[in-house]
């Protein structure tokens, strides 16, 4: 957007038009005690060359995932992004997230979103995908509201304690205003105990939210959990990792009614705070309660293929306060990246990426688990990410690895919502994620450097897990 400033002439002419002498006189209508009587405490402006130097220095102080070895997890991952993704997504025709209110004027954008929806449906096995939401956390919340509308149960929502703590926090914020009870079932074994979950569901429960693989990297018994939700008339919501679906059973096969995801793994760089990509899919019968935009394919009056917005009558600009959601836009540009990424990989490519992540993660877990003072926190099957327990403060281990050029984490002790599941071990635990980008050589070097650098914690001791 252009930066338009007011020249001294502009200001003078505006003041003349309204008939005042000066800005000060103009502001006299504000009571004196409410006016700031000093200049704003801001540094003076920089010249363009000074600004450029300043920004270059700031940029040099940052380390990107490409200059270090990234094994960080927790919802955002360092997957490879083919150059074609940037090339296509940076074309001028696509370089805006917005469609005009007469959306059908943007046939190219609508077609891209239609392809996105089709690919996501193929990936998940679900009937319908919308044209994307903002990111994974709000997608979970939107899925929950959908379930409340479908079941007409507005009083109670149940989530597993192994749902990403930030997703839990977003949901809590939303539900706080709705007077809905949010129950979290702790998962001290790394995954949920199906019987405990069953016992906590009742005929007032609108939905059960399950993350697969969960925040600890572990695999839940998704099918049994979905069944448990259905047995009390609740909907099963699964928050999945798109890359994992190369190997794992799809949410549809497991019985999920609504499946959501953070789509960052699909061709979107790991960047601080986003923007990322929310994915939301459901069964056909719930489509009228689905938030967001939905693109459909039809023919024009000459019989040519074209694309339209479907079910638009439920969106905010028409339905006002009764709209299915306050979200009636999408993450168009990022959905486009995911579309290009999935189209480039194809079915076999996704399977390959998925398998590489899984094998490398298991190699890393095995090697790291052999180090003194380190062990796997849980003995559950995992996909590309796992929880390590260190005999000292996990942040100390993360710092040691960082010094050697390896980024691990996050430390799970920083998430208060995970403490009930992690017990006394909370401050000793951290996540490690291994994508297809990591090599055996990198993993070996990480293990060697951790073995070689002295621990500042107390001597290795026998680890005991919480009962």
């Amino acid at each position: 957007m252009a930066y338009l400033f007011n020249t001294a002439d502009d200001i003078r002419s505006m003041l003349e038009t309204i008939g005042v002498e000066s800005i000060e006189e103009f502001f006299e209508q504000i009571p004196a005690h409410l006016q700031l009587d000093r200049p704003l405490d801001l540094p003076s402006g920089l010249s363009e060359p000074e600004l450029e130097t300043h920004l270059r220095e700031l940029a040099a102080a940052s380390h990107g995932a490409s200059s270090r070895v990234c094994l960080m997890g927790g919802g955002v991952y360092d997957h490879f992004i083919p150059a074609a993704v940037d090339e296509i997504a940076s074309r001028g025709e696509f370089y805006t997230a917005y469609t005009p209110y007469q959306a059908e004027a943007s046939q190219g954008s609508l077609q891209a979103f239609f392809e996105f929806q089709s690919l996501i449906c193929q990936l998940t096995g679900m009937d319908v995908s919308n044209a994307s939401l903002y990111e994974g956390g709000t997608a979970v919340s939107e899925a929950v509201f959908m379930a409340m509308r479908v079941t007409k149960r507005f009083g109670r929502v149940v989530v597993l304690g192994s749902l990403h703590p930030e997703y839990q926090q977003i949901l809590e914020t939303y539900l706080g205003g709705l007077g809905c009870q949010l129950d979290v079932i702790a998962t001290p074994d790394g995954t949920a105990d199906v019987q405990i979950v069953r016992d906590s569901l009742d005929s007032e429960t609108s939905c059960l939210v399950i993350q697969q693989p969960n925040v600890f990297g572990a695999l839940e018994e998704l099918e049994s959990l979905c069944q448990a939700a259905h047995d009390v008339g609740a909907l099963a919501i699964s928050s999945f990792d798109p890359i994992s679906l190369g190997l794992l059973k799809s949410p549809a096969e497991c019985g999920a009614d609504i499946a959501v995801a953070e789509g960052q793994s699909l061709g979107i760089p790991a960047q601080y705070g986003g923007p990322y990509l929310g994915i939301l899919t459901c069964r056909s019968k719930h489509v009228r309660q689905m938030p967001g935009r939905l693109i459909g394919q039809t023919v024009d009056r000459h019989g040519r293929r074209c694309f339209v917005l479907n079910l638009q009558a439920r969106e905010q600009h028409i339905r006002r306060e009764k709209a299915t959601s306050n979200i009636c836009t999408n993450q168009g540009l990022l959905a486009l990246r995911a579309t290009v990424y999935l189209a480039l990989l194809g079915r076999q490519g996704l399977l390959d990426v998925s398998e590489l992540c899984c094998r490398k993660a298991h190699y890393a877990a095995e090697r790291l688990g052999e180090l003194p003072g380190l062990e796997l926190m849980f003995s559950r099957p995992f996909f590309k990410e796992f929880t390590l327990r260190y005999h000292g403060d996990a942040t100390e281990l993360i710092d040691r690895a960082a010094t050697a050029g390896f980024d691990l984490g996050p430390a799970l002790g920083r998430f208060p919502r995970l403490r009930e599941s992690l017990g006394e071990a909370a401050d000793q635990t951290l996540l490690v994620a291994v994508t297809e980008q990591r090599t055996r050589e990198e993993i070996d070097r990480l293990v060697e450097s951790l073995a070689a650098t002295p621990s500042t914690s107390a001597a290795p001791q026998t680890l005991s897990k919480p009962a």
């Binding site: 009228r288 009558a313 439920r314 028409i318 339905r319 009764k322």
Partner: protein
């Protein structure tokens, strides 16, 4: 069904009284204003409705509109064929296009509704 025997609301629902049973639908005027209908959602059996309460919704390609109960009562019958046969609603809104039947306690409440002439005046004066 002859509209002359029906009662009407300003929100375009009609009501027919047989003893203490009320049959409810939406008017020909409403159907025409909505244009192509795509979806209708009706309440569950046994639901207790208060006059003015939303009992369902009807969706066209242009808009989603709420359906308001013209009178208080309990839902005892639903036109279950309607959601899959929206033509019945477009072609015969006062007959095959009926939506729900209610058992009502206070039949006199129907006296407050408009008769056909009053309803037609209302449609006309509302500038439609």
């Amino acid at each position: 069904m002859d509209p002359a025997n029906l009662k009407f609301t300003r929100s375009h629902e009609w009501l027919r009284l047989d003893g203490n049973t009320a049959t409810i639908g939406i008017t020909d005027f409403a159907v025409e204003a909505l244009t192509d209908l795509v979806y209708v959602e009706l309440p569950e059996m046994g639901k207790l409705l208060t006059a003015g309460e939303i009992f369902g919704e009807v969706e066209s390609v242009k808009a989603v509109s709420d359906l308001y109960a013209p009178i208080s009562g309990e839902v005892i019958e639903i036109n279950t064929a309607l959601p899959d046969d929206l033509d019945a609603l477009s072609e015969d809104p006062f007959g095959r296009g009926w939506m729900i039947k209610l058992t009502i306690i206070d039949t006199s409440a129907a006296d407050d509704l408009l008769d056909e002439a009053g309803y037609r005046d209302h449609c006309h004066s509302a500038g439609h």
